[in-house]
Each structure stands twice: as structure tokens, then as C-alpha cells.
């Protein structure tokens, strides 16, 4: 450490300077090389995936015969291919559930892959999707995690016998005594929503299978953790050496999400093998938003035992984690990533935790920026806010009194995290200092005097980085862990090499997703050799068959600065240590005397006695024979590093879940518009301690990025589902990511307490604001509105409901029907038709005229009494959808009332509806009263949600118009009598 500090303190050091990103020129001029830009071999097939429109259904049959007849279609991959060539993915808990790369027995979420078409181009492949017919037998879905956890809920995986696939309880210290003794117990329940940090570039890959040696070769932006490489190999039933993964040079972002390429990589590998040709697949946005991956939604009950002065003596967590339809590796890691850190920034010695993992009919979850932090800190920092309110204390003071003191560092938190360094109180002072807090308080006071809604929020969080590969096994019992063998550590690797002309190159196993690895690594390595950053070239593409990697490799858990850059430094130091004796020989001084500086290698005592770096660096290539006895060549060094502090969980489930722990204190002021419920951020201050900053400009970029993501989580982003599991956010018009217009510039402050445990003293910084900012903003909104329960996202409608829970009633109660809020499509209405009830009855009961009544009905065939199979083309404006439907008439009370049910599926997804119709004679005409309910799933629900109800009403109107035409006897026409309060249908 001292040596490193001295190194970095050197005047010419580049590390720690805000150098510009070397990556940007190519990206800004359109010269990025993303997955879709890479060349593919002649004959490469393009894949399109047929996906389930149902949230839960048995997969009865798949008929691809018509698709296979289409010109340009080479193959259709279905469950029989994947059951022959793969096995289900490894699961992180001991439960009998199967997750294949393609649906086998059931589909369990909307968007689950069911078949893959391989065709000459993507257009043809998508054309062929329409020609595959799949028979589903719908099962009841379960979407809400609390409902899914109940004993009577529909089961996703019947062999497991429950939807709760893991239920573990933990106790650290003596929480029961602390709760028993505490004068106050304060609690809150949080329902943290589902969201994701969405990359601009969706998933993509080129997969191939080499029949000569049985190797699968997949080029994809696999970001790790590389523990998933064995998962892929096991699924493909081949040794790890037969799965060769290469990554493209550039990435359009990941934020953890691209971990989700794993099941698709297996699927496309199988597809390439079946087709005998390379396969390219590029995910589109609808696929990505509906089915790629997501952070977990979580229900947390959190309680604190609190002393009179606001000190928290114990915490009690009950977390119900919703991982979606399958436990996709490494889940349930989201729940355990924060396990050692559950007491946050506070010195709380006693802790009890119950963790349950539940499965629901939603997209399986996975890595996501912040990974488990947003969920934990939303609960903990809302709780701290409430403790102050309930005890009548100052909110900031309650935070301060509980912070881990500087003197306690390194501090072992209750559940095991070893906080490496930090001065939390000083960081709080930094944030509020220079009049920042005073200014905020004054702004709030002024606003409130003027009758405006203004609030201040705080949040203090510990940001873990460099995950311990063993933390995930905390989900297992000590006995189960013993059987499986220990998992621990966080191996990072880096290689530094010298070329014959003395050039220095660096390669790391990190698969960057836009963070500027090349910039920072060249700074770090240049300093070791006394070179300029432009003298060091960095390659960031990875090839698992050639590069050094271990299972912790990859781009996640903010590993780069703390682990990867540090390991590159270690590799460079080793290479320098090999160069020094060679230089010593040439300069005729002892090796300890050698210094590397300014592109030269010189004797410390006599700088004139020197040679150029590139001559020395090339020496082992050109003249290995003259290096002399006992002097090894210096050509290439690969370093592996794993912090010894990262042990496996012990028998008491104590786990140091990460290697480094940064600290963040956030403070903000927000104003809420009384008329619209829109929240605007007035001031935002975020103070970070991420240890030593390797490049402050890039560190600030990470803070801004996470802050923008957090503004999205706080106000805009949610993966919403209908009760039937339909996806409601298939486009960026419905999944709202904030843009430059919505994200203000935060004030970023830094404090630097270097980590004693990482090679360069650096810690992660890229995820912290995803953890601190959502709750800081929510605390401010709660302060502005004076409310205590507040859930995300804080959409204007949700905020408005808090400001004004009651609205003025309609002027004439009879004139307007009110309706309870809800998402199901439903309505009622009346119409008067110039025909008698008998005439209308006959029109409905007669198949030929029924066919004319149903809008767009092209074929209607009786399959049972009053049950018909129909082909229907539904039209709403220019939108057309072909559906194959079943129509049934029941509850017949001729000629008075009946019930009409229809359900079907087609190119736009699924639809079903029920109408109850009552016919009342009225002056030779008939008054029709109707009530209806409908559901639409699949594509049309995912992309057209806000128009669905209007569209349903339009179809009903079409049907009533047809009824009038169809039922009225010819004599009574002109039929175009518009007795329409039809618009009243809703």
C-alpha cells in the first residue's frame, strides 16, 4: 500500500487524473463495433423467436409444418431439440424445478421462448413465426408475490409443491433481547416495484457449432459473472473447453442486464447445431422489455428496536423476493448480495432476517445495476426517516447517531460485511457543509410559506463492490454448503505483455459495457512503467479459449476499479520486476537502483545512466540468449488476485459479501405541483467515498449515470403486469426511461478513504446512486406531502392520490357511471335496435347470422351445441389482427338474456371476453343492455395498452351496428338509425 501510494504520488502519475475517455472518438463518430456490426460467415441463418402470449399455460402441441414449407426457412427449433441436446439450467437452490432454454412442458411468463425459426434473413424468419401454430391450455397465473406465497396459489412448478422455493431465517447478535428491551419499535412495509436499467443495445449473438471437434462458438456480449460459463457448458452437456465465448469490442450498455444472454446463448448454440450453420440473433425492443430480464420486486417488512435517543439496537427484516417464473442463475443472488450489509451505514449489532424467494408468472430476474441495494435501502432509509418522525427527533440527527464511527474501521457489520474504510460522519458534513443544508432548509421554509409543497430527503448508504462468489451460497444451509464444498473469493485476472518494439499491451477479464476500461487501464499501467497512457494499448474483447479468466470474471458488482484495475497494476508491477534485473545488467547497477520514468529506465543515483524503455522492453524478444544467468525473460505476465478477506459463509451464516464498501450520503429538495402531482427536483447533492478515484471524470460519469437510472426508478420506470400476467410495457412509450429533460445535474462531492484491501485503494462507485437516490427522493416527497407510506414509482397519478385522496363527485350521479380503478377492460351500455327481441334472438342463435354479427368473422363453424370455432380478423383503424377463436353462447333465457364468451389467439396475441346481454322489448324495438369484460394479452397489450379499452369499445360498437343490420327485418330498414348512447359503453 505504501509503495502504491508513493507510486501514485509521483508527479508524472496519470492515475487519479480526469483524463478524457479514449473510447469516445470511435463511439461518437459511428465507428463502434457492436455485436450487430460484426461480420458473420456466409450462410449465416437469422433467428426469430416465437414467444408465449400466455403468462401460464400447458404447451399442448407445436406444429411448424407450414413454417418449414416457406421459402428461405431452414429450420424450426422446438422443445424436442432442446430436450435432446441440452439439460435444464443449474438452479441455486435445492428444488426440483426445470428451466430449459425453450419452453418444454409449460410456459410460465409472457414472452417465454417457445420456438425459434431460422431463415435466410430476419424478415423471412418473422414471416414464418406467423405460420407456426401452438396449442396452449391456459392455467391460472399468479402475479402478485404475496398471493403466490399463499398455500392456495396456482403452482408454477408442481414438483416443488409451493411457489416459495427458499425460506431461510438468520439471527446475528441477540435481536430478540434487543427488541424486548427497546422502548420503541418502529416498522414499515415496502412494496418495491419491478424495474430495470435498460441498455440502448438489446441482446445479440452469433452462434456456431463445429462438428469436427464438437465446440460451440458463441460471440455475444456476455458480461459475466463467468461462473455462468460452467452453467452454459453443463446445460449444453459438454466440457467447459467446448464452449468458446467471445465478446465484441463495444457494448451498448448492460447495467447487469446482459447477464441475461445466457439462456439465449444456449438456445442459439443448439439452433446452430441443429441447422448445421451459424445462427445470428438480435433481440428487438419488444422482446427485451417483455422478456429479457428485470430487477426483482420485493415485499419487505422491516422493524427497528430503537432507544429513546433514536439509536437503533436491532433490525428485523422479513423479505419476500419475487424472482419471476424461474430461478435463473445466479438468482436468488439479488436477495443475498446485500446480506452482510443489511445494517447499512449503521452500527447496529443485532439483526434478524427471514428471506423467502417466491416465483410468479413474470419475466425471470437477474443482474441489474444496484443489484439488491435499491430494495434494501428503500426499506432501511424509509425506516430511519420514520424513526425520527415517530420519536419526534431530527431526521438527520437520527442518521448521524447511528452511523458507524471512523474509529471502528475496519468494521464488521452484524451479518458479516467487513467495512474496509470510511469516515461516514465527515462525508455527511461534507454534503451538508458550505451552506448546502441551511440553503435547503431556507428554500423549504420559503416555499411552504407560499403554500407550495416542498420536501427535503436524506439517505445514507454503504455501497458494496467486488462480490464474494460465496455470498450466494448463504441461501443454502450450512449442511448443504458443506456437501457442495466451499465457494468464496473474487478472482480477478489481468495480463500485461511487451511486444518486440517495446509496446505495452493490457488485457483483462472484465468485458466492459461502456465504463472506459481502456482509458483507466492505460493510466494505471503507464504509471508503473513511467510511460504515457497513449503508450499503453488495452484490448477489452475476451475469448474464453485464450484469455485468463476465472469464475468471478466479468463486468458486475462494480469490480473494475477495485479489483480489475488493481490486478492490472499487479501484473504490470510483476513485469516491471522482471525488467528491472535486465536493466540492472545493462546499466551496471543493482536492480533496486532501477527507476522507470519519462519513457526511460535509469539508475536512481545517476539518471544519465539510462536506456529507453522500448529497448529494454524488446530485449527479451530480440536477445533472450544474452539475458544472463538467473535472469528470466520479461515478455508477459498474468496476475490473478482475490482478496483474502472474502471467505465462504461460516456455520453461523456470517458472510463478508463484498471486498470493498464505499459510502454515500445524499440530500435533496423537491417540489410537488399541487395540480398535477408532478415532482421536480430542486437540488440534489450526492457525496461519495469510493476510496481512491482512478479517474475522477469517469467516476463522476458513473455517478451521473446511476443517478439518472435512479430518477427513472423513483418516478417513471416499472414493469407493470395485468392481473392475467400480460406485459404492459413493450415499448419505450410505455416503459418510461427518463431523458435529458427529466434528469437534473446532481452536485457531486468526493471524500477519499482508500481501501486497505484493494490493490490501488479504490472501491466501486457505479451502483451507489441506484441504491441511495430512489429512497432519498421518496423521503423528500414524503416530507413534502406529510405522508408516511409511499411506494415507487412516484408517478403523478400516485402522488396526486396522496395529495387529494377524494375528488368532487359527478354532477348528476345517474348521468355518469363511476368505476373503481383497475386495469381490467370492462364496461356496460345500452342500445336500442329496431327489431323485436325475438328477431334479435334468432339472429344471435343462428350460426349464419351470428357470423355476420361478429366483426371481422370470416368463418364460423359449430363444434358443439352453441359453441363455435371462428376465424376473425379484428380491425381497429389501420390495425388488423387475425384470431382463431372459440365462441360460446350460454345461460340462454330466450328471448330475454344470454351470455356470450369468446377467446382466441392470433398474430397479435391473445384475447378473451364475456358479454352479458339482456333484451327488453320497447315499442316494437328492443333495448339491449349489455355488460362486458375483456382481456387482451401478448403483443397488442404490450404495445397498445393505453388504447385497448377504447379499442374494445369500438369493437362492441361495430358489433351492435351489425346486430341492428342483421336482426332488423328488411321492412324496418333504413337501418342506419343511430339510437346511440352507444358511446356510453365503457
Amino acid at each position: 500500500m505504501n509503495e502504491v501510494a508513493a507510486e501514485l504520488a509521483r508527479e508524472e502519475a496519470y492515475t487519479g487524473r480526469p483524463l478524457k475517455r479514449v473510447e469516445d472518438a470511435a463511439l461518437l463518430t459511428g465507428r463502434g463495433r457492436f455485436i450487430d456490426d460484426l461480420p458473420s460467415s456466409a450462410g449465416t441463418l437469422h433467428a426469430a423467436i416465437l414467444r408465449s402470449p400466455h403468462a401460464h399455460a400447458e404447451l399442448v402441441s407445436i406444429d411448424a409444418a407450414e413454417a418449414l414449407k416457406m421459402a428461405g426457412v431452414a429450420a424450426v427449433i422446438t422443445r424436442k431439440d432442446v430436450t435432446a441436446l441440452t439439460r435444464p439450467f443449474t438452479v441455486g437452490v435445492r428444488q426440483p424445478m426445470q428451466h430449459w432454454c425453450l419452453a418444454v412442458d409449460r410456459v410460465r411468463y409472457v414472452g417465454e421462448p417457445v420456438a425459434v425459426v431460422l431463415a435466410r434473413d430476419r424478415y423471412l424468419a418473422e414471416d414464418a413465426l406467423d405460420a407456426i401454430s401452438v396449442e396452449y391450455r391456459p392455467l391460472p397465473p399468479v402475479i402478485d408475490p404475496e398471493r403466490a406465497a399463499r398455500a392456495d396459489a396456482p403452482l408454477l412448478h408442481p414438483d416443488v409443491g409451493a411457489n416459495v422455493v427458499s425460506d431461510r431465517s438468520f439471527a446475528y447478535g441477540d435481536p430478540e433481547a434487543a427488541f424486548a428491551e427497546a422502548p420503541h419499535v418502529v416498522g414499515t412495509t415496502i412494496r418495491y416495484p419491478r424495474n430495470s436499467v435498460t441498455p440502448i443495445e438489446c441482446f445479440g449473438m452469433i452462434a456456431d457449432w463445429r462438428p469436427d471437434d464438437g465446440t460451440y462458438e458463441i460471440t455475444t456480449h456476455f458480461q459475466g459473472p463467468f461462473a455462468l460459463h460452467p452453467v452454459m457448458a453443463l446445460a449444453l452437456k459438454v466440457p467447459g473447453t467446448k464452449v468458446r465465448i467471445r465478446t465484441p469490442p463495444d457494448s451498448g450498455g448492460s447495467y447487469g442486464v446482459k447477464q441475461g444472454v445466457v439462456p439465449y446463448a444456449v438456445l442459439m448454440a443448439v439452433a446452430a447445431r441443429v441447422a448445421g450453420r451459424p445462427v445470428k440473433w438480435i433481440e428487438d425492443r419488444l422482446e427485451h422489455l417483455s422478456a429479457a430480464s428485470s430487477a426483482t420486486n420485493r415485499v419487505t417488512r422491516i422493524e427497528a428496536a430503537v432507544a429513546e435517543d433514536g439509536r437503533v439496537t436491532a433490525l428485523r427484516y422479513d423479505q419476500l423476493e419475487d424472482c419471476g417464473a424461474y430461478l435463473k442463475a445466479p438468482e436468488p443472488a439479488t436477495l443475498y448480495r446485500m446480506h452482510g450489509t443489511l445494517t447499512g451505514a449503521y452500527q447496529i449489532p443485532n439483526l434478524t432476517v427471514r428471506n423467502r424467494v417466491v416465483l410468479t408468472n413474470k419475466t425471470p430476474t437477474g443482474l441489474n445495476r444496484g443489484f439488491g441495494g435499491p430494495q434494501v435501502y428503500y426499506a432501511l432509509e424509509r425506516l430511519m426517516h420514520r424513526i425520527a418522525d415517530e420519536l419526534g427527533l431530527d431526521r438527520l440527527e437520527v442518521i448521524r447517531r447511528n452511523l458507524v464511527p471512523k474509529e471502528a474501521m475496519p468494521y464488521r457489520a452484524a451479518a458479516g460485511s467487513l467495512y474496509d474504510s470510511g469516515d461516514y460522519a465527515a462525508t455527511v458534513d461534507l454534503a451538508i457543509g458550505e451552506g448546502r443544508l441551511v440553503g435547503l432548509l431556507a428554500r423549504r421554509e420559503k416555499a411552504r410559506k407560499e403554500g407550495r409543497l416542498y420536501g427535503i430527503g436524506f439517505a445514507a448508504v454503504v455501497e458494496p463492490s467486488v462480490s464474494n462468489m460465496g455470498y450466494i451460497t448463504t441461501v443454502l444451509t450450512a449442511e448443504e454448503r458443506e456437501k457442495a464444498g466451499p465457494k468464496d473469493g473474487a478472482v480477478a485476472s489481468a495480463t500485461v505483455a511487451l511486444d518486440p518494439l517495446g509496446g505495452v499491451s493490457v488485457a483483462v477479464a472484465s468485458t466492459p459495457q461502456g465504463q472506459g476500461h481502456r482509458t483507466v487501464l492505460s493510466q494505471v499501467v503507464a504509471d508503473v512503467f513511467g510511460l504515457r497512457p497513449e503508450d499503453v494499448s488495452v484490448t477489452v474483447e475476451l475469448d474464453t479459449a485464450r484469455d485468463a479468466w476465472s469464475i468471478a470474471a466479468g463486468n458486475y458488482s462494480s469490480r473494475f476499479a477495485a479489483a480489475v484495475a488493481g490486478t492490472a497494476h499487479l501484473a504490470a508491477m510483476r513485469l516491471r520486476d522482471r525488467l528491472a534485473p535486465i536493466a540492472a545488467q545493462r546499466l551496471n547497477v543493482p536492480a533496486e537502483e532501477i527507476v522507470f520514468s519519462g519513457g526511460k529506465v535509469a539508475a536512481r543515483s545517476n539518471p544519465e545512466n539510462s536506456l529507453s524503455f522500448h529497448r529494454l522492453a524488446g530485449a527479451s524478444h530480440w536477445s533472450p540468449g544474452t539475458l544472463g544467468d538467473g535472469v528470466d525473460p520479461a515478455l508477459r505476465e498474468t496476475a490473478f488476485w482475490s482478496p483474502p478477506e472474502l471467505a465462504a459463509p461460516d456455520r453461523g451464516d456470517v458472510i463478508n459479501s463484498s471486498a470493498a464498501y464505499g459510502f454515500i450520503f445524499d440530500m435533496c429538495g423537491v417540489e410537488v405541483d399541487r395540480d398535477t402531482g408532478k415532482v421536480s427536483i430542486d437540488r440534489y447533492v450526492t457525496a461519495h467515498d469510493a476510496g481512491r478515484l482512478l479517474n475522477p471524470a469517469l467516476a463522476d460519469g458513473q455517478v451521473r449515470g446511476a443517478f439518472a437510472n435512479a430518477v427513472g426508478a423513483a418516478f417513471y420506470e416499472e414493469f407493470a403486469y395485468g392481473e392475467d400476467g400480460r406485459c404492459l410495457n413493450g415499448t419505450f412509450a410505455d416503459y418510461l426511461v427518463p431523458t435529458a429533460c427529466e434528469v437534473p445535474e446532481p452536485e457531486i462531492l468526493h471524500m477519499a478513504c482508500p481501501s486497505p484491501f484493494t490493490p490501488l485503494g479504490a472501491k466501486g462507485i457505479g451502483e451507489g446512486n441506484c441504491m441511495s437516490t430512489p429512497v432519498c427522493l421518496a423521503n423528500a416527497v414524503a416530507d413534502a406531502l406529510g405522508v408516511s407510506d409511499i411506494d415507487l414509482p412516484l408517478s403523478p397519478a400516485q402522488v396526486m392520490a396522496l395529495i387529494e385522496p377524494n375528488e368532487p363527485p359527478p354532477p348528476h350521479a345517474a348521468a355518469v357511471e363511476a368505476r373503481e380503478p383497475g386495469r381490467a377492460l370492462s364496461g356496460e351500455g345500452t342500445a336500442t335496435i329496431a327489431a323485436t327481441p325475438d328477431e334479435i334472438w334468432r339472429a344471435i342463435l343462428d350460426p349464419a347470422s351470428l357470423a355476420r354479427l361478429l366483426p371481422g368473422c370470416e368463418r364460423l363453424e359449430a363444434i358443439d351445441e352453441n359453441t363455435y370455432a371462428a376465424d376473425v380478423t379484428v380491425r381497429v383503424g389501420p390495425v388488423t389482427g387475425r384470431y382463431t377463436a372459440r365462441v360460446r353462447l350460454s345461460e340462454l333465457q330466450p328471448p330475454h338474456s344470454l351470455r356470450l364468451d369468446g377467446d382466441g389467439g392470433g398474430t397479435l396475441g391473445t384475447g378473451s371476453g364475456t358479454a352479458w346481454i339482456v333484451l327488453q322489448p320497447a315499442d316494437g324495438s328492443t333495448r339491449i343492455e349489455y355488460r362486458w369484460e375483456a382481456e387482451a394479452g401478448g403483443k397488442v397489450a404490450a404495445v397498445g395498452g393505453r388504447m385497448l379499452e377504447s379499442a374494445a369499445r369500438l369493437l362492441i360498437r361495430q358489433m351492435l351496428q351489425r346486430l341492428e343490420v342483421g336482426a332488423a327485418p328488411a321492412a324496418k330498414r333504413p337501418w342506419w338509425r343511430k339510437h346511440l348512447p352507444l358511446g356510453k359503453g365503457r
Binding site: 396526486m800 380503478p821 369500438l954
Partner: protein, 275 residues
């Protein structure tokens, strides 16, 4: 997200496009800026067998004052209209509304008539047309007709335009002296579809307001001059009569609240702006 196969016809003249429409009718769609249609094509929500591209037709790329209205041709982009209006400063309502239509980038391609033809219930331009009592000029091979905005919008993305017709132009009446105009909308993010959008016109003795984003089409109301509680009551009644719906972005109750509060704000601004 690739469209189903279609033929692409680049029309050399309006007559050519009308001939193609006559022949293909329902199977064809007019392509102008493509800012709504292209997305629907890619998602295969719309599967025409042919696209008739009118974007290059100079005769339709116009925006001119005719008989007390600004007549905007079918190839005129939203950006072009916006530039023209900001130069001339003659149409406060459209000037206020146009910056809310999508984003700068989409306005550079998206056409004014395309937005009218698409008839998104939340869209700003149909709302303005409704508020102003404008007209849509429809043309088929056989005939031309003028349809008032009130009769043009039939429901969600549904209009009175027949399969063999295209919109040739739309007419936005010019502002009248002694009338005030105001526009505002509430959306989740800048450039999003409005949760509710408002266009108000205050005259010497009347108030007229159109609301978009709540019902399945823009809806307008006219009242005699109202103030205070009477205006609140009128807006409350209007809010309920619109029968808004819940969707994932907002509840019906929230939208009613916007009609009452933001609606009132916009009306008051229109009153202040009366000449």
C-alpha cells in the same frame, strides 16, 4: 420487429397515389412521415400489402393561408409548420402545441396531416383541429370532400377517411381578433403521449375547450362565459363526461383532476390572452 412484406409505391403525383388507392383500397396505406406508421409496420400491427409514399410530392408540401385558415398539405412536416408559424407569429395555439408533438427529431419527419390521419386520442394536432373547429380535406379519385373535425375523429385511431381516400390537407382556422388561445398538456416525460392535453379558446362571450388524452378522441365543449364556482362545476361535469380510463400511466380519477385544474388554468390563460 420487421414488417410483413409489402409493395412500395413512390407516388409521382397526387393523381397517381389516388389511382393506387382506388385500386388497392383497404390493402394500402399512405406513407408520409412514417413516425407512427413505421413503428406499427415493424410491430406488424398494420399489414398493408402496399405503401404509397407521398412524402416527395411537392404539391402537398405546403402550408398557406387560405380563406381565414392555415391550410397544411399532406407532405408538410410538423417542423416545417412550426418554423413557418414562429416566423410569422400568427397562430398562438398551434405555436404553443407544436413543441409538444413528439420530439424535435420526430417532428422533422412527422407530418401534420399524418398526425391527423393517425388520430391518436392523445395527439396534440387532432386536439387543436378540434378546438379550432378545423376541417379535413379528403380526396379520392372520384371526389373531394371537406369533413369538419367533429365528424372526422370516430374513435381510437379511427377516422372518417374511407379506404380509397387520402387526406390532401387540413385547415386550421386563423385566430380571431378579441379571442385568446392557450395550450398545455401534462405528460409523464417531455415528448410523451399526453395524459391529458388542453386547448382553450376564450372569446368575448364564450369559452371553448378541447381535451385530448382522456376520451377515445379529442372532445370539445363550449360554454358561455363562466367564472369561479360555475366554471369549476362546468369543468367537473366535463371531466366526468369524458369517461376517461385507467391505464398503466394514470388513473381515470387523475385525468379528471387534470381536466378540473389544468383545464381551468389553460382557460384562464386563454382569457388573459384575449386581444
Amino acid at each position: 420487429m420487421k414488417p410483413a412484406p409489402f409493395d412500395y409505391i413512390r407516388a409521382g403525383s397526387v393523381d397517381e397515389s389516388l389511382d393506387a388507392l382506388h385500386e388497392l383500397g383497404d390493402e394500402a396505406r399512405i406513407l408520409a412521415g412514417g413516425q407512427s406508421l413505421a413503428a406499427m409496420l415493424n410491430m406488424r400491427l398494420v399489414r398493408p400489402t402496399a405503401l404509397i409514399d407521398i412524402s416527395g410530392l411537392r404539391e402537398l408540401d405546403r402550408a398557406e393561408t387560405r380563406d381565414d385558415a392555415i391550410e397544411v398539405g399532406a407532405a408538410c412536416t410538423q417542423a416545417a409548420l412550426s418554423h413557418r408559424l414562429s416566423r410569422e407569429g400568427r397562430h398562438p395555439l398551434l405555436e404553443a402545441a407544436l413543441p409538444h408533438v413528439g420530439h424535435y427529431q420526430t417532428r422533422s419527419r412527422g407530418t401534420v396531416c399524418g398526425s391527423i390521419a393517425h388520430a391518436d386520442p392523445s395527439a396534440e394536432l387532432p386536439l387543436c383541429l378540434m378546438a379550432l373547429g378545423g376541417e379535413v380535406l379528403l380526396r379520392s379519385r372520384q371526389k373531394r370532400r371537406r369533413v369538419p373535425a367533429e365528424a372526422f375523429f370516430l374513435g381510437v385511431i379511427s377516422t372518417a377517411c374511407a379506404p380509397d381516400e387520402m387526406i390532401e390537407a387540413v385547415r386550421f382556422p386563423l385566430p380571431k381578433p378579441a379571442y385568446g388561445y392557450a395550450f398545455d398538456e401534462v405528460s409523464r416525460r417531455h415528448g410523451d403521449f399526453a395524459l391529458a392535453a388542453f386547448a382553450a379558446i376564450a372569446g368575448p362571450r364564450t369559452i371553448r375547450m378541447a381535451v385530448g388524452g382522456v376520451a377515445d378522441r379529442p372532445v370539445s365543449r363550449e360554454w358561455p362565459m363562466l367564472e369561479g364556482a360555475a366554471l369549476d362545476d362546468a369543468l367537473n361535469a366535463f371531466a366526468w363526461e369524458l369517461r376517461g380510463q385507467d391505464d398503466q400511466h394514470a388513473t381515470a380519477a387523475y385525468r379528471r383532476g387534470l381536466v378540473r385544474k389544468v383545464g381551468r388554468r389553460v382557460i384562464e390563460e386563454a382569457m388573459r390572452c384575449r386581444g
